[in-house]
Symmetry: C2
Subunit: 159 residues, 2 copies
Amino acid sequence: MENRLDRIKKQLHTASYKLTPQREAIVRVLLEHEAEHLSAEDVYLYIKEKSPEIGLATVYRTLELLTELKIVDKINFGDGVSRYDLRQEGAKHFHHHLVCIECGSVEEIQEDLLGEVEEIVEKNWHFQIIDHRLTFHGICRRCQEKATGGEKNKKAASI
Amino acid sequence: MENRLDRIKKQLHTASYKLTPQREAIVRVLLEHEAEHLSAEDVYLYIKEKSPEIGLATVYRTLELLTELKIVDKINFGDGVSRYDLRQEGAKHFHHHLVCIECGSVEEIQEDLLGEVEEIVEKNWHFQIIDHRLTFHGICRRCQEKATGGEKNKKAASI
DNA sequence: GTTTATGCAAACGATTTGCATCTAC
DNA sequence: GTAGATGCAAATCGTTTGCATAAAC
């Protein structure tokens, strides 16, 4: 974990960006909450606990910076908020997501399942693929089990 | 085309929504600009040419309505604007998109290329898929040709 | 006639920006 | 010392909402 932080710091340095405590704090929060899909506001609130003087604008600016450097990926599940996801180290491609339309949970698939599909697209559409976004909308395992158990929970979350 | 409009009108009627001229105008615009990926503002401007008294709020409300009825799909390419795409008649799934990071053009893939991938996901992740969003980011054919100084690549894109 | 839809303007929330101040280098 | 980064507040932009009026049924 410490290694990973250091490597990100080096990336910033290499790209000649200054290493401010705010930037470090933001990266730390992302590392500590890797499984969640934090919005800028989420990151801001986490940091505020320890460093109350940070500004939301700085969070936005830093997240944009990290997106440019391909350290994080900016995703949008259609709810009007951008979320920021640490990219797996060395990952060429963005991972996939499973969004539950019942409970809103988001699961990640790290494997790249699109190899064959991309070959087809590159060949038949003459499109040179650089990255992809794949999200499945459906019912997660927990909600499936809930549904078959008792037909009560109906907290629809439409996208 | 006229048939399609009528069928959509019937869908509205069946769901007991009123058939207002505004709603019809919005559907017409969507039908006339099927290849584009119109934002609410785009739709608004197109309609304004012929019916200047329409309000932007009505456009938003109608597009939301059409999304609920699964007549259109709401997409987001990450530029902060929602776009609305007519769904192919009878399509169970959302079509795929090819977004060019050079020129910003958006191409559509109507075929469903995810059959096998979805089987894998349902089986290995126990996730019941209802719909999907798949977007490839890369370089479109035209921009590739531009980059290589006009290298010819005449193979037909057939499937 | 009742219910639903509309248009307008105001409200809203997420994100961006201008600017004076600060800080990493 | 200087270029770049920050914090704050104000501005911006897409979208939603309240409400009185109008139109579809």
